[in-house]
Symmetry: none
Subunit: 220 residues, 4 copies
Amino acid sequence: MGAVKTKRMPRAVREQQMLDAAVRTFGQRGYMAASMDEIAELAGVSKPLVYLYLNSKEDLFTACIRREAAALTAAVRAGVRRELPADRQLWEGLGAFFAHTSLNPDGWSVLHLQARTHGEPFASEAAAMRAEIVAFVTQLILAAAREAHRDPDFPESDVVGLAEALVGAAEALADWANATPGVTARQAAATLMNFAWSGLGNLMDGQPWTPPDAAHEASG
Amino acid sequence: MGAVKTKRMPRAVREQQMLDAAVRTFGQRGYMAASMDEIAELAGVSKPLVYLYLNSKEDLFTACIRREAAALTAAVRAGVRRELPADRQLWEGLGAFFAHTSLNPDGWSVLHLQARTHGEPFASEAAAMRAEIVAFVTQLILAAAREAHRDPDFPESDVVGLAEALVGAAEALADWANATPGVTARQAAATLMNFAWSGLGNLMDGQPWTPPDAAHEASG
Amino acid sequence: MGAVKTKRMPRAVREQQMLDAAVRTFGQRGYMAASMDEIAELAGVSKPLVYLYLNSKEDLFTACIRREAAALTAAVRAGVRRELPADRQLWEGLGAFFAHTSLNPDGWSVLHLQARTHGEPFASEAAAMRAEIVAFVTQLILAAAREAHRDPDFPESDVVGLAEALVGAAEALADWANATPGVTARQAAATLMNFAWSGLGNLMDGQPWTPPDAAHEASG
Amino acid sequence: MGAVKTKRMPRAVREQQMLDAAVRTFGQRGYMAASMDEIAELAGVSKPLVYLYLNSKEDLFTACIRREAAALTAAVRAGVRRELPADRQLWEGLGAFFAHTSLNPDGWSVLHLQARTHGEPFASEAAAMRAEIVAFVTQLILAAAREAHRDPDFPESDVVGLAEALVGAAEALADWANATPGVTARQAAATLMNFAWSGLGNLMDGQPWTPPDAAHEASG
DNA sequence: TATGAATGAGAGTTCATTCAT
DNA sequence: AATGAATGAACTCTCATTCAT
């Protein structure tokens, strides 16, 4: 079951093996249901060695979150060419995002499900990474407005709401693509671009969807 | 701390007290970290009574999920007038959704976080409710197409992707609204309508955002 | 080995059984070497019940210290008639002390050895009891001075030193009597009265302090 | 924190460094709470080297006890001039004893607390040293009797009891002096001489044993 | 002479669950 | 309808100790 027992590895290598095993176990079993015993066995080492190197279950989980968060943001960053127009940047970023989450489902589960579900200090770690992405998307939206020669008349706090919505949609589609056979990363990205850009495009043109006002609603 | 100890209640009432306590505890502590001891104390009864009525921790959690799922879908359904046009239905549904999640944060946490995080059989329970909502949204999108006298030329599976994205965006905005003071349910709904409908509106008009083809991309 | 398994005892009774087992185990094995498993088995219950009632190893040990300290000081107090002259009070107190320590060697080990050896919060608990005894002895010495119509010309802090010495001598003789077959509590008390009251200098002059014989005591 | 890492020391030197670290750690943490890790780090060497030289935790602790016992008895012996009368020998011995224990609190804790608390084979090691001191005191008492031209009419076993009491008093005063700021070794010795030699009875009559003043002592 | 890498064994603690009334 | 008494099983974490170099 576990990894082949290769003896006497240098510490740095062993640590990565342990993190690999931990991400897999946390991602599949969940943080609380994962036992240090199982992680150690999957890593091919004894439990005390895990504690010697990673200190505690909390620290181990935190290390997993950080590693996976760094890997995800790095993948997105590496996939985006900043010299392109905003919509092209978003397209590339989404493609990189869906590609990464589909290749690293356990890491994605750690970041998106486990870290957010089990309170502090984990939630904050995951929230930090998410905030980074939301900020990036926010900048893209503002850039798109500039490119369309529009000084957006809505306040930046509204833009954050839009970015939150877009990121949330991406997260949901990542789960959906992972769970639905036959949906590729590219298709997920295309669906989300259709949904988000055609919508945002209209917004940029100053034609938001208008809510019915309350008075009208009451009489309607 | 816990409920006042009132003795000899009829079973149905006691069960609701227990479910109240359980939803609160599961929502705040998480499924695994919540202890039957704490739930029983918060419900104001002894532990054996919880087992007598709800059978096991799994069954108790499942009962929570079902109750909260039913409550959420009922709230949304009750908030929507089916005779209205699709966009107005969506607006009303989102308003009801955000109102409910902001008034029931523990129930929302149970459904959106806890149930999805702790494997079977809970994930399926939550997925069933979510599928219902996604189906409703899918129907709304198709209805909107018909209202615009468009026979959508994209397959229904694509529509499901759009619905998934919309629902994901709604979930994220619910979390965001709950976590951000000063964001009301109505504002969240307006933000999402802007994002989703202006976008979907464009789609309905046959003007999707077009991905650059790969050959072109390599040369660009 | 362990106590007979008597089932379904009221909590108060079980707690005493647990404390009995704990004092015995801590006294013989030492605080750290004693395992909760062993204590539970000796008490005839399962480990979780020990934790349910006594909370933790620390709390259990603290409870032992308190119980044994209370028992020891109560025994000494009960053995002393306050209306007697100081030397007679000391004689009675020492008799009661040595009798108690010889009948409760495990409790004495807990108080004198284990509690002092394993840091806070245990040391303070034991020190509190010891301070009480030192204070009692200090009062006896001052009373003796008054009885001899002497206003002692040395400061009270010096008296505390003398009391410390006397208590230390008593502690050592308790260990010695417990370890040396054939040395009774009464003999230990007589030795210490000789040492402490008459003083070695007087002993050399052939004037030992004379214990009142038992017959006389009964009538007095 | 730990010792400076100087490499390639001769074995004898390294062993002393280890024993220094071990005495300090055992004295402060206690035998069981002290970890070989901490001792090795404090000694500035790796754990396997400690095992290579000292063999096991038990052997290491035994070596500590022996070294500290030898140091204490040597200090007392070196402080006593055998040609003096018995009371002066006692005075000098106590002075040396209190001086040593106050300068070596960790060693004293190892001998007086730790070694006695953790069973065999440690208790026996400490008991051997203590027996030596008790024997020395016993001889002093008998010598005092001879000097007073008294053939003590009580059996030698009684004398042993007196010696035990005196040693116990000294031990307690050593702890007391270490724990009470402002009490010097000389004061502790004076208090004990008063207590032990003149006797409380004599003290009441205003005839304390008088320590020879320092000037006289230097010339004598 | 000296150490980085590694572990078997066991500790304290917690929890879902049941029995007897 | 309701509970005080009780536990099997599992968990995180630590430590003395050894191997291979």
